[in-house]
């Protein structure tokens, strides 16, 4: 029996240790960092001598401080950026949902032999590099593109000023939806595929029209799929920085950009860690909410 216990440890220990060291410990370090003082030249102030580095006169306890959190809550700007990130995440989740629903429904209604191909076609563009997919929209929305010329000539025909589509909140939204759309289509399809078509027939026999059949039969049943898809879009969008960085203008800063700047720009590690923890808390709340909502309600 001892041999089997040994096997158990031999198999479980390496991945557990690796993830403890390279995932759990770094996360804890990030939490600790958020309570420390920033160094004079970026990074962190040494733990032993906080008095010499604390600029505000608050020496803290053993070199620990709530300064970064205080700073976060003292300026409305940061709350605004968090709010803006939530707005962007909500909007793109809704657009993804509206675009994903017909695709997922069509795949679920198609003959079984075509389904795998149709799913593969959804996943395929998603497999090309993330930056390349964003770059593609730089070309399409760029001021010299055929699409831009078309839009602007239409606008001018109606007497409006021409617009610059690239480096705008619009471009950020388009790029975000494009990158995250498959995350919505796949869970939605997985759900829709399980629906029993008999229910729709029954509704029709009882006199329900097309819209009633959708809103009273299909939609309520699909809610778990809707919520799990929404979580898969909402959470990464909340923390993204590359899309606003590439497609957005100078004003389109989200939480992710703010965090990136603290680490690779101004090098204020404690404040960057504080922002990361705030993001983590937001993600935990959202995950909890979606898990609660995604629980199937229809008794089986």
């Amino acid at each position: 029996m001892n041999k089997f216990r040994l096997t158990r440890w031999l198999i479980s220990l390496p991945p557990t240790l690796f993830l403890l060291i390279f995932f759990a410990v770094p996360s804890l370090i990030m939490i600790v960092t958020s309570f420390r003082f920033p160094g004079e030249y970026g990074g962190l102030a040494p733990l032993t001598a906080p008095e010499t580095t604390a600029a505000e006169g608050d020496s803290g306890l053993y070199g620990m401080t709530l300064e970064a959190y205080h700073f976060f809550f003292s300026d409305i700007l940061y709350a605004e950026i968090f709010l803006k990130s939530f707005v962007v995440a909500t909007t793109s989740t809704l657009i993804c949902l509206i675009m994903a629903y017909p695709v997922a429904m069509l795949i679920a209604q198609s003959a079984k032999k075509y389904r795998n191909l149709m799913i593969l076609l959804v996943v395929l563009p998603f497999a090309s590099n993330f930056l390349i997919r964003i770059y593609a929209w730089m070309i399409i929305l760029g001021p010299e593109s055929a699409f831009s010329h078309f839009i602007n000539s239409v606008l001018q025909a109606f007497g409006f000023e021409p617009v610059m589509m690239l480096f705008s909140p619009f471009a950020v939204l388009v790029g975000t939806v494009y990158v995250h759309l498959p995350f919505m289509i796949l869970p939605l399809y997985t759900n829709l595929e399980k629906h029993d078509p008999v229910l729709l027939d029954a509704a029709q026999d009882l006199g329900a029209n097309r819209w009633q059949r959708f809103w009273l039969v299909t939609w309520p049943q699909s809610l778990p799929g809707v919520f799990s898809g929404s979580a898969l879009v909402f959470i990464p969008v909340l923390g993204m920085f590359a899309i606003p960085d590439i497609l957005g203008g100078t004003g389109d800063i989200l939480i992710g950009n703010l965090i990136k700047d603290q680490f690779l720009g101004t090098r204020d590690w404690p404040f960057g860690s504080t922002l990361s923890i705030m993001l983590m808390l937001a993600v935990l709340c959202v995950t909890g909410l979606f898990t609660l909502l995604a629980r199937p309600r229809v008794p089986r």
Binding site: F22, F241, W269
Partner: protein, 261 residues
């Protein structure tokens, strides 16, 4: 009824077009004889020649390959172990440790690893830090695939092997490993694709000096957009396409194997 289907078809087709038009444009402009991604001038392979004469880019491709191969190897070994441990031994903390890095926004893993490497390990950021970082998030994906495979199997085969006197190592080598092999290979391919594609975590754990492919692409996009980016994008797409097709074949192999048994 017919009418509904038509509307649905139309809406879905528009979404499919939305998914593919950008990629088609990138590929088409990679053959365009003009510095601007604006109008079609004529066919050329110049951008590909330029790319293959760009030393920095070739070095970046080599580095990215080294990272992807090492990270996927490490992640496959650790992830297979994790999948087995989660399925068979029900280790409590392991599912959280393996799946949390996938569930949170990438930037958080990137930032915490950056702090860890610089503060605790005092490591000079470079290929090693990127390999570790990529392994950390790939382990979870391999574990998910391997565990799914194990869940679809009858555990009594392993008990039978044990009853017949096989040592744990013999059971693993002769029974478990051959059975989960398709999942292990699928996990390895997935890790490779995820690693070579990753931008966010690489961005935080990269050092100075060593060029990495996604970072090079990012710099090119940010500084000067030339069709050279289109050329590298097209080649990159071709590579992932091949990997996806192989993985897909293996995956349907898994499904067929299950149907037979």
């Amino acid at each position: 009824m017919k009418h509904t289907n038509l509307t649905l078809w139309l809406a879905a087709s528009l979404v499919y077009i939305f998914l593919y038009i950008p990629l088609v444009i990138v590929v088409v402009y990679s053959f365009n004889d003009s510095r601007l991604n604006a109008e079609w001038v004529g066919f050329t392979l110049d951008w590909y020649y330029k790319l293959f004469n760009n030393q920095e880019m070739l070095l970046a491709a080599r580095n990215s390959l080294i990272i992807a191969v090492s990270a996927s190897l490490l992640a496959t070994i650790l992830g297979t172990m994790a999948g087995l441990a989660i399925h068979r031994y029900r280790i409590k903390v392991l599912p959280f440790l393996a799946f949390a890095p996938i569930a949170m926004p990438e930037i958080l893993l990137g930032v915490s690893l950056l702090l860890f490497f610089l503060q605790v390990l005092n490591l000079t950021l470079g290929l090693v830090s990127i390999i570790i970082a990529h392994t950390t998030f790939c382990v979870g994906f391999v574990a998910i695939i391997v565990r799914a495979r194990l869940q679809g199997m009858d555990d009594s085969i392993f008990e039978a092997a044990r009853d017949l006197g096989a040592t744990p190592w013999q059971t693993f080598r002769l029974i478990t490993l051959p059975l989960i092999m398709p999942a292990v290979i699928a996990g390895a391919l997935m890790s490779f694709t995820l690693s070579i594609d990753d931008f966010v975590i690489t961005f935080f754990t990269k050092g100075i000096g060593e060029p990495i492919l996604p970072i090079q692409i990012y710099t090119m996009i940010k500084i000067a957009v030339t069709p050279e980016v289109n050329a590298i994008s097209t080649l990159f797409m071709l590579l992932t396409l091949v990997l996806i097709i192989i993985a897909n074949r293996l995956d349907s192999g898994i499904l067929q194997g299950e149907k037979k048994s």
